[in-house]
Amino acid sequence: MANETEETQRSKEAFDLYIVGLGIMGVRQITREVDNVLRRSREVLFIDQGFGVEDYLAQACDRVTDLFPISYRELDPRINAYDRIAAQVLRAALDHPPVTFAVYGHPMVYVYPSTQVLRAAKLLGLRVQVLPGISTLDALLIDLGLDPGFYGLQMYEATDLLLRDRPIQPDVPCVLWQVGAVETGLHSTAPSIPARFQRLQAHLLKFYPPNHEAAAIYTSTFPLAPSNMARFPLGEFATRYPQLPQGATVYIPPVQLRDVVNKDLLADTVSIDHLDRIIVRAPDQKLPG
């Protein structure tokens, strides 16, 4: 039970728990607001194997806990690791707030423990603030020169794609996450064989021709190192992916672009008359020109 000192300390702080992203490039992408909360935390619990991350955190906070080695166990269901991670974070937030849970990338992009912590914290009366980080997706858009504003973007977790038999829109750029961990909820660092990816390849070939070229991208995680990209036809997906780093994300460009079919609306988008029908314009607001 919290003693009086802890209660006093708690009353001075706006939050008991921060959930933050550290970016994907060591310490170089740590934002100023994240750095601020690291420095006011009584403990930082983190999952990030990036070079220099622990060193940096140890300068910002006296008490730093690497959750990776105490959570992940070879061949153990990953959900157990996530339970252990979330439990340690919540315990720390109850014991000696404020604390920070710092994760690789963005805390709400493919980080289940963040969701676990948020849901449980609400029930436990903990005050939480979540701060964004630069995610693999952010870097991927740079590597690909892709702005999702043009054609949209669809992205799926690889195993989830298969579990739910999700349809893919072949005219929309597609990103597949956690391909290296497809078809298992267990933690394993062992290399994969082509058989692991055959079901995924078969699913993709329902929507794309076998000669359609995809890319596997290992986004740069260090300032002096480049991103790496392998291109291969989807018909060779199962044989090519095992030769790549486990962390490579897959990008599938559209087979063809979808044409504008609503020509009237296209014309309306540059029409003052149309705009007048969908906004309330001030009487004295003059037209340009």
């Binding site: 439990a87 590597d143 690889a158 989830d160 260090f222």
Partner: protein, 188 residues
């Protein structure tokens, strides 16, 4: 494992913008103050994915998980490594003086400005894996998500007694209570 000086250099690249810039425009000058092996220097000058071999964390000692894990001490644990830390931005004055850092080699005097100012960050498109591609050593990227979950907006029925137990307990008992709560909230 990188040598001590290489480690110091790799940490500095991430936190010292001037040094990083010098590594891009004149790496020989940037490396001049560091005692690194010819092989390490060659990799740094190449600036390709082979640099990742220096960034892989040492494999953690095998963890022996007892039936019941010991409680963590409340006192902060001492740093596990003898760290040589890179300089940081000025700290918050409210937090007191920063811890002392060993001095970094000073950056060399800037060269004479060239006639045409070079782009310090030339376009650097992703390198293409050779054909056939090969696995390269890379730092592990944590797999932090699990598929097949149905996480809705509804709040599962959680016994009030469980919340009370968590709030009033401590140590391992508190952790076990939280794990029970998390499992109640999971929906598969």
């Amino acid at each position: 494992m990188p040598s001590a000086d290489l480690r110091r250099l790799l940490l500095r690249v991430q936190t010292d913008a001037d040094f990083y810039n010098l590594m891009l425009v004149d790496p020989q000058r940037a490396l001049a103050g560091y005692s690194i092996t010819p092989q390490e220097q060659e990799v740094l000058l190449r600036r390709d994915r082979s640099i990742y071999q220096f960034l892989i964390p040492p494999r953690p000692k095998p963890t022996v998980f007892a039936e019941k894990e010991p409680e963590e001490p409340d006192e902060p644990s001492p740093p596990s490594l003898n760290l040589t830390l890179p300089p940081l931005p000025p700290p918050d004055p409210l937090l007191g003086p920063p811890s002392p850092h060993p001095p970094e080699p000073p950056l060399p005097e800037p060269p004479e400005p060239p006639d045409v100012f070079p782009n310090p960050l030339p376009p650097n498109p992703p390198q293409i894996f050779p054909d056939p591609p090969e696995i390269f050593q890379s730092p592990p990227i944590p797999i932090n998500f699990l598929s097949g979950l149905n996480v809705g907006t509804d709040v599962a029925e959680v016994p009030a007694s469980l919340i009370t137990t968590i709030q009033q307990s401590s140590g391992e008992e508190r952790v076990q209570g939280i794990v029970q709560l998390l499992k109640t909230l999971d929906r598969r």
